[in-house]
Subunit: 348 residues, 4 copies
Amino acid sequence: MLRFECDYTEGCIPEILEAIQRENHTQLPGYSEDPISVRAKEKVRALCGDRNVDVHFLVGGTQANTTIIAAALRPHQGVLAAQQGHIACHETGAIEAAGHKVLSLPSETGRLTAGQIRAFCAAHWADATHEHQVQPAMVYLSHPAENGTLYTLEELEDIHRACREWNLLLFVDGARLGYGLASPVNDVTIADLTRLTDVFYIGGTKVGALFGEAVVIGNSALKRDFRYLIKQRGGMLAKGWLLGLQFDVLLEQDRYVTIARKAVEQALRIRQAFEAQGCRFMVESWTNQQFPILPNAVLKRFDKRYAYSVWEPVDQDHTAVRFCTSWATTDEQVEQLIYDIPRLMGNE
Amino acid sequence: MLRFECDYTEGCIPEILEAIQRENHTQLPGYSEDPISVRAKEKVRALCGDRNVDVHFLVGGTQANTTIIAAALRPHQGVLAAQQGHIACHETGAIEAAGHKVLSLPSETGRLTAGQIRAFCAAHWADATHEHQVQPAMVYLSHPAENGTLYTLEELEDIHRACREWNLLLFVDGARLGYGLASPVNDVTIADLTRLTDVFYIGGTKVGALFGEAVVIGNSALKRDFRYLIKQRGGMLAKGWLLGLQFDVLLEQDRYVTIARKAVEQALRIRQAFEAQGCRFMVESWTNQQFPILPNAVLKRFDKRYAYSVWEPVDQDHTAVRFCTSWATTDEQVEQLIYDIPRLMGNE
Amino acid sequence: MLRFECDYTEGCIPEILEAIQRENHTQLPGYSEDPISVRAKEKVRALCGDRNVDVHFLVGGTQANTTIIAAALRPHQGVLAAQQGHIACHETGAIEAAGHKVLSLPSETGRLTAGQIRAFCAAHWADATHEHQVQPAMVYLSHPAENGTLYTLEELEDIHRACREWNLLLFVDGARLGYGLASPVNDVTIADLTRLTDVFYIGGTKVGALFGEAVVIGNSALKRDFRYLIKQRGGMLAKGWLLGLQFDVLLEQDRYVTIARKAVEQALRIRQAFEAQGCRFMVESWTNQQFPILPNAVLKRFDKRYAYSVWEPVDQDHTAVRFCTSWATTDEQVEQLIYDIPRLMGNE
Amino acid sequence: MLRFECDYTEGCIPEILEAIQRENHTQLPGYSEDPISVRAKEKVRALCGDRNVDVHFLVGGTQANTTIIAAALRPHQGVLAAQQGHIACHETGAIEAAGHKVLSLPSETGRLTAGQIRAFCAAHWADATHEHQVQPAMVYLSHPAENGTLYTLEELEDIHRACREWNLLLFVDGARLGYGLASPVNDVTIADLTRLTDVFYIGGTKVGALFGEAVVIGNSALKRDFRYLIKQRGGMLAKGWLLGLQFDVLLEQDRYVTIARKAVEQALRIRQAFEAQGCRFMVESWTNQQFPILPNAVLKRFDKRYAYSVWEPVDQDHTAVRFCTSWATTDEQVEQLIYDIPRLMGNE
């Protein structure tokens, strides 16, 4: 069985394991107050081009999302997200369990627009009894989005302006940020995210690390007491150096983008192979996730050799599915798949 | 200014004030453990046709909704509601602040269908990673719905069956129940609600009381420790006899439905007056709320003499608005409005 | 049975019922946006001697406490209270249900001291891992305290300074404030509370109203969006004018203190009657609550004619109990009790 | 600097790193649904002597505590703990943030007694207005306790009976369970914990793993939907096999207790070295944590070469401190300390 169902089926890049091995018996203070974490934070700040941002390393995405949102909002405030956003539908109501409504906006593209944000806020504040409704106070988006598509810099700039106009915090979930940065169509840098958002994170779990997300906070009010929130939300790793060390290795030179770039190239080759069979796609993705729409009969043939994710039914006979590559995908795996696609699609 | 904007612009029926006056200096134990409340609960049980239900009196609707849902659900569970449902959009995220997601379903009618409920649950449980999503565990609906329309008994029976099939609690918000019971097209009784739901309430605030909702719990698991929840949620009125007394008076004979019936008849006369001018309506309502769609230019003329609620824009030139009657609406007020409608609509 | 168990066994002063009667059929906008509430807020501001405070009327004490604390604190912050404080032990964990720890401090007097507050904060901030603990961010106290005793102005001034030193909000629960203001030993005014606290409330439920607490917010950050919090916490009364009207009547001239003064005088007469029998007291109270320590055998005799509250066992044979007067207590009731005390205590 | 301040200053036992290395490029399904985790769970069940328990692997202690308590309690229920309990004072109010009060009981020994539990529950249920208080519904204790002391089997049996009598769940935090099992005075086995508790966990973070706690649930009601809770609380590790693998290695043969035994023996040698200098201890501990009471002047000398934890001031001149060993402590480190103790204490 070859696994293309997600981008976290393997462990980590070998350099990380080597580094853990090297530090395994070093005595280090706990809770991310060790010198390795300090060094890794410096690397993140350098990438951001801003020495004043606060950096925190958390274990995973749901934890990061919940901790950030709980730290940022007052009880009556909610967070705007596309209805396909991870916090809106794949975190078992973690945000609601922290007391906040996710204000889901419909989206055909899987991404939010500045126009939607402005319209929602205008309607809220125009309502004479707006205090009977959740107050929009933050925008959450993912780059890349859940469906692998990307915001342009212009779109992000516009969303940033909308947020400033309506007094909203802007939070970008970068669980797959590497695959965005490495995409041939991307024009957004980490420095742009630093400049345009109040908080964002650089994903490690899906891009080369065993686990870990590097949260970058630019907004001063949000910086305050953030470590209390991490501890309260169960995110204060005793051996916090494990997180720092992984980012220290990942962000060495341009390793983070390099390993992601290879995955994106592999994904685009897979896309071409499907396209060559006349296959349609749910969305045009230039990152490591591809969403071909396949006949259900064909999927049964894939099932014997390949793991992929079922995304959504398209009609009675067709389903949109996801094939993912990652930093760990080998050329052999991709070639096997490319070889099999025409055969399994029954065109040969 | 004549006020038709909602059904809570006046105090209460005179009999309630008389009763308060009568008991004002009686020494009574606090927290609804007085004999008047005991008697009122007996009246509710009699109406339900079930001596085993638990009855609790709460001050208002948001309080009742939050207390009931907090008492019923585990943290990972959510409540299905129409997107227009009160808990979905008019309670400032009270349910989310209690930790639970409102799983909003789109609805053109403002009501849920058994089919929607079944489809949602089927999709949830069919998903291989359903534990990454909020678990549907309760259905919330209002009778009458927010837009004044009613469920038929057959629809409620079907929703009840869907709930049993998918292990969902059924909760009916009856903030305007009186106006439902009094409607000429209604075929649902309080005994039906008792039989078909796990919990529901009989609204007092909008139907003759100063304030108060009578919560009826049939489900044994939900009965347990409910008074702790009332206290925790700030709903344990020190002078609880004020609540019991109001329901004791309201449920005397068939006063509750009688006062509501008059309001519904008045509302239907208002509807006729609009219809006579060729006016369209947002929805066909047979209860005390009417939603004519009026030209914005006409509304400006109404604004000088009438208070109504803006419901939603229909197109650039038209708006759906709400005219409400209540137990307190006088015949003079209705006649004045009926007299003015053709004049303000510019047809005379 | 004569009831002295609490100060909320009767309804309200007659003037309130008259006013409700008078306004019962006036059409008024909902949610405390009516002219009566506006007028009542002006009266509160005048009493405070500060035209910039925000005033909100809520139904009850637990609701007020929870709403204020939820509005004020971030998730990792807690509220300091005496272990006997109402929020610490008599609200079913309402504050915890809103996500915040009540940081209970032991107290022999039932009151907090500035020294305790300073010591707690100093210890918190001196701890190298203080982010592993709840951050003290607010001080909650009641005036009068749960045991009927009073803070002196000097004590409050010192607590105020401690709060400023350690960046704590100061919140005073005034559920029984009237009985404090009316006490012969009190030297704290409403203007003092306005000046020294960030938020406090003037209790109506226990001092002449059917229900209602007038929340006064001086702190600007806390003023912001407070109505959203009221709605979310279920405290937005549809017929909000009922709250405004009650305070409008209560604060007419010096009625609020006048009715409380009588109750305090009655309580002090009851105290004298117990003292005359050589009775000890749990605490020296100069307000409407008295806590004699009585032999259990004597209490059995009281049980036949009097309702009182059991406070706490003192030793195997003695119990501290509470006898309360209120604005509604009649001279006849007090005289009957005073007549019975020596007889029931077995000394005659 | 030699570090004895805690038991998580190093990484993990070499066998774990080897196993990660071995599996690093294996494609495995996410979220602990991999075959390695399945195998590790079987090992846990075998240790428990009960094939029906549910086993879940979580990353850390605060996460485990919060998830378990959130899963177990209804909103009005609280958890009894010693005032020194980890959830009571070292988790930034994580339990309160999940909505539940920690009902702290004073304890001189740092452990709870069955008598305390019975007395608390008896008082709660005897109170006529018990619904105004948090309902005790769970007992939380640690074995070993925070101060390194142990419950005897007899004590645990009695606490178990008290819990059954008062309808309380029993939850044992075993973050340092290995050091308890390895203690020469311990008579409690994992099978005993399985039999006597509703839920407990076997700590990995402090006993040989990089991170990880193995939660064992015996109670059927608590088993239900537990994975939803893990996800909601941010504890669903994408590469869950990392957790399973660590327990698979740790529980190989009797490795878990073997590595802990060495740490306990080292700790007892350190204790002897302090005792030989006439040193008193805060508590008599037979596990890997030792709490000597040292003159502050002496501590200044230790500061130059040793990291330890400050526990609590004892008097003006003395402080109780903690020296910890762990599975990673080397004989050379212990010998150096033992050599230095008499010199630094100034007796030589």
